[in-house]
Symmetry: C2
Subunit: 399 residues, 2 copies
């Protein structure tokens, strides 16, 4: 910290200290970015699962977890899988993405959103976002697709690369939903299925509909850094019984049901969530309402703490979104973008774990061969958005 | 059962009854094919993991599980991942299999061995097995590769398809090791790396070396049907520190270490084993020696029970293999091959869960486009090999 501080200009030093102090009025250092909350009630189902001997990919907790996810999110079926990345991979596959296709992916999202496109031999094609939700900018995407693509016999093609464009994926960034109606409208104009990467968005709603249930397929994650966790885990959400059946079939090695024969009719995966992890998931769902209250309380505390701080604000839910506030985010003013790394160093040195938003994927060398529209908003936000500690346990609720 | 029995010829009926009765002298019905064994001690590490809050893909149990796997198998490093299929996928990738390559795969193996080849856009190329281990027949593979391939500038090419042949994978079928020295010798002749699918073979040894540690990379599974389980889980084994580092990097989204930035330098995966599952794995490793004794005892009981039964034998470990006897297998005499389904029906109807060996993969429509040598031995064994209940808890050990 000493090294960093020495090098800072006086105004930067004051700015950093103000931010560190403001964050520390909300959370006590040290604080990690996001850790799960377990109460003593979580033991019982996990122990029961061990006692039953059914710890693997078939079991009553998997069924129960899926039923409860379905009830909570309001879709007829949820399919529990090993993690959010596996759910994305299946989602792309069941909507028909094939090797050599392109998938429209936001520039600002976790790398798994794009990686899972590549798993199918398909190519991510990056688009820009808008600042209120940090999700895809529907209008910019419409204009861009009008410029570079054309529909031939009902299928959309990229006129520049000649490849088919097969789907759009949107991310609910930090739990905030993008303008899904506007995005869905563009998808319909261009005959594209919509996948929702709602990995961090359990408990988030867009106009009353749960995140991940507006498009054709939605994806949740229960990784250890999410609002609820199964250790590792994820789920697909869909209203389409055909897609749900396809996802389940593909997640169980595409095995054809038979009393004893091992016949498989497609290239499938070993993607089912183990019962052991689902048992923890059931326990976590019991606490979800309380965790969501805590998350909102913490977000309100950040807003209050930063109300009168010049040069930095707090990202709040867009008007149509009821966010779970998975990760709280500070947004530096444009003139403060150059001070982002000093702020990050100051916060982390103070024991307050903080991170910038994801690196714009289209700027990573690994995706440099992929098509992309100009993404000035993503590039700008990358220099100004900082996630701060957001664990539900940090909320100081009234007793 | 009544329906099946009615239709049987008298000699078949007697044969089936003899087998059912013999199996039932070894195990009490009902008996599943393979279920895990948990003792009361397995709860402590799982509870400790929950209490620590570290349930996800980083944690002391993951490190401990890897260290203990490394010590048990005698390789410098083991990398724990979400399941055996993920381990296979990584194994193919780190030895250099690329889209459009072919990988030599045995006809008789679980479908994941071939699926994971396809995940990379590569093509399984099937070869035959030999009856003693049901593993790859080294001599037949040598002759076949001599006939259809040629080495150009150090790389092997299939002269028929024009594609590169990039690797060989062998499977330790039911825990029995194939003749690895002979297979490795063929691999060296043709400049091919050797991957060992030892998914079911923890505790199996080939000439004193643990299964999965003879070739370049080996793969273990801890699925619920294996000798020890983590719910879902797997591991890579390798003596090559470069390959180990690559596997670990790719299994953690290929993220470049940095205090806060999300930069990734390759298409990576979300494949690390959660700490919760590793905690169970540590508990299971404590019991492995005992489980292996029980497995061997059960196998001996099957051998004794079938010693004087005409028309059927028990598969025993090949001369160079010390098998964990993951799955016990009856082998019908050639003239009894037509009675396989009657035997399967009889056993399952009696509550003794039994299955044929895997369907030859090259005969499944999903792999019909893939190159294959003639596989008469695999085809023959498919009609004669039946797995019978093999859970360690079934062993009747002396007190």
């Amino acid at each position: 910290m000493v090294e960093t501080s020495r090098a800072l200009a006086p105004t930067t030093k004051v700015f950093v200290e103000t931010i560190v102090n403001s964050v520390c009025t909300v959370v006590n250092a040290p604080a990690v970015l996001h850790e799960p909350t377990f109460d003593a009630n979580c033991w019982a189902p996990v122990k029961d699962c061990l006692d039953s001997g059914w710890v693997s990919s078939v079991g009553s907790y998997v069924d129960g977890f899926e039923q409860r996810l379905s009830a909570f999110t309001g879709v007829p079926q949820a399919i529990a899988v090993v993690n959010g990345t596996a759910a994305l991979h299946l989602a792309y596959r069941i909507v028909g993405v094939k090797a050599g296709d392109e998938v429209i992916v936001p520039s600002l999202t976790f790398v798994a959103t794009a990686n899972a496109v590549a798993y199918l031999g398909a190519i991510p094609h990056f688009v820009d976002c808008e600042p209120s939700s940090i999700g895809i900018d529907a209008n910019a995407m419409r204009q861009y697709l009008s410029d570079i693509s054309e529909i031939r016999q009902g299928r959309l093609f990229n006129c520049v690369t000649g490849r088919r464009i097969a789907a759009v994926v949107v991310t609910h960034v930090f739990g905030h939903s993008p303008d899904l109606n506007a995005i869905l409208s563009v998808c319909n104009e261009f005959n594209l299925p919509l996948i929702e990467d709602a990995a961090g968005a359990i408990g988030s709603f867009y106009k009353g509909q749960h995140a991940g249930t507006v498009g054709h397929v939605g994806v949740l994650s229960f990784n250890g850094n999410k609002v609820i966790t199964t250790g590792g885990g994820g789920a697909l959400l869909t209203r389409d019984p055909h897609l749900a059946a396809r996802a389940k079939h593909l997640s169980t090695t595409a095995k054809i049901p038979h009393k004893w024969e091992y016949c498989h009719d497609e290239i499938g995966y070993n993607y089912r969530l183990p019962n052991l992890n689902a048992a923890l998931g059931c326990a976590q769902l019991d606490t979800l309402d309380d965790l969501l209250l805590r998350k909102r309380s913490l977000a309100n505390a950040y807003v209050a703490a930063f109300t009168n701080i010049e040069g930095v604000g707090v990202l709040t839910e867009p008007s149509d979104s009821q966010s779970n506030y998975w990760l709280n985010a500070l947004v530096l003013a444009p003139q403060k973008a150059t001070e982002r790394d000093a702020v990050l160093a100051g916060l982390n040195d103070a024991g307050v774990m903080s991170r910038p938003i994801w690196h714009p994927l289209n700027a990573l060398p690994v995706f440099s061969h992929c098509p992309s529209m100009q993404t000035p908003v993503a590039k700008d936000l990358y220099n100004r958005v900082i996630n701060v500690p957001s664990s539900p346990s940090l909320a100081k609720l009234c007793p």
